[in-house]
Amino acid sequence: MEGEGRGLIGSINLSKDKKLVVELSGQVHHLPCCIKYDGPCSVFDYFRPKPNGMEVDGLRVEEAYFRGRKLRGATVPLPDGYSGFVLGKESRGNRKVSEMSEESSNCWEVNAKFDKLSYWNHDTLPSKDDAFLRAFHWFAVAEALHKPVTAEDLVSASVSLKEY
């Protein structure tokens, strides 16, 4: 595959008609297993999370069962300024045929969005030490890395260097 490791140039169209973007908040679940299926499924008829009354690290613990396993998890909001998207290949009709053949593989559009999601552990209680929640630390790092450097930042940095 070309571009392996370097990444490919692609585009995501975020400006799709809002009416066509499905709101999935509270319906996105991250399970501690690999389900080898990709397609529609009657989740609400079978997957019934219930709060169990406990609270750990400020997380309201929920319980659910899947394939006989007890799952315990929590619903967490995405941080301000971030959204979750379900992307799909950009639908035909929006693009000319010539463009399709060139970059059909990497043009995406938003099919659904969400601003919170539930993540589940197999049997263990959710906590702030879960890798899934710790992944959110990246947001602060990314912000610091990408924030434009101001003249004042440079001055204060050189001052602290001198102090060494």
Binding site: C34, I35, G68, R69
Partner: protein, 299 residues
């Protein structure tokens, strides 16, 4: 759960008492497993023998129900039940640290004894049908409750009337619980004709066949930890769990586990997934590795 013990302690309970414990619904592939106990003063033992209690399996359903109603109003008898939800059974047996059915059974019996003792009943002898090796079970119980003499034997439910009585309590409670079971699932065309729940019962077989779901498996009434379930789910969607991966390969390193976890975090296709399981950490820095983050270049 499910306790219907009398609130005020009868006078006879402060005299030496005997108790029988028995189970119902251990074998079925669906519904709760019920542990029941029945206790009375040792001096009441002879009268108890005249009450026609017999091993609940040898009695017709209607007779069992009658006997249960009789013993409920009998002021010389106390009883209690522990109803173990099929969800709890499956969850414990499929937990990361698996708890087997014998252990669950022992815990339930121990729970009942504790409950009755806490009521203030002076238990001196407890009779049980064995679960696993009788002598080991007896030692386990005796170590726990040093003031009680335990009689653990096979077929206790047909030998000791006090255990026969407990078996009626358990069996009637299990049958009622299944009869009145409220299915949690809201899928269309859910039926309640479960049959007995035993894997060989044609009605149970038909119900399982008609209520299987390719992704979810079965409604949570079913005990997923029963081997019988697998034959129904052969054509269903495959689901891989981290805990099972560890089991299959005892030598599986923590790295193998981490890689599988990693593949679960990315919302990637199955093709990409297999690549990820095979790939190394690709020299990502510790911060990213600890948080199972990686850059995704292909969806």
């Amino acid at each position: 759960m499910g306790s219907e013990l009398a609130l005020s302690l009868p006078k006879w309970a402060s005299n030496p008492c005997i108790m029988g414990i028995d189970e119902a619904g251990r074998g079925p592939v669906l519904g709760p497993m019920v542990y029941g106990c029945l206790y009375c003063a040792r001096s009441y033992q002879n009268t108890l023998s005249t009450l026609e209690f017999a091993d609940s399996k040898t009695l017709k359903e209607q007779k069992r129900e009658e006997l249960f109603e009789d013993l409920k109003v009998n002021e010389s008898i106390g009883w209690a039940v522990d109803i173990i939800d099929p969800r709890e059974l499956s969850a414990k047996m499929l937990n990361k640290n698996k708890i087997n059915l014998n252990e669950i059974s022992h815990d339930s019996a121990i729970g009942l004894i504790t409950r009755v003792l806490n009521l203030g009943v002076l238990l001196t002898e407890v009779y049980l049908d064995t679960v696993g090796d009788p002598e080991k079970y007896r030692v386990k119980l005796s170590e726990r409750f040093s003031s009680i003499k335990f009689i653990v034997s096979k077929k206790a439910d047909s030998i000791y009337p006090v255990v026969s009585g407990a078996s009626i309590v358990a069996k009637v409670t299990r049958d009622r619980a299944l009869r009145e079971w409220e299915l949690e699932e809201t899928a269309e065309n859910m039926q309640r004709n479960f049959g007995s729940g035993y894997p060989g019962d044609p009605q149970t077989k038909a119900w399982l066949e008609n209520h299987k779901h390719s992704v979810f498996g079965f409604p949570t009434l079913v005990r997923f930890s029963w081997g019988t379930c697998n034959s129904y789910l052969k054509d269903g969607v495959e689901v891989l769990w981290e805990s099972d991966q560890m089991d299959e390969d005892g030598s599986c390193s923590s790295r193998g586990k981490r890689q599988l976890k990693l593949s679960n975090v990315g919302f990637t296709s199955s093709k990409r997934r297999s690549e990820e399981i095979e790939s190394s950490g690709k020299g990502r820095c510790k911060f990213l590795e600890a948080r199972k983050l990686e850059q995704v270049t292909h969806f």
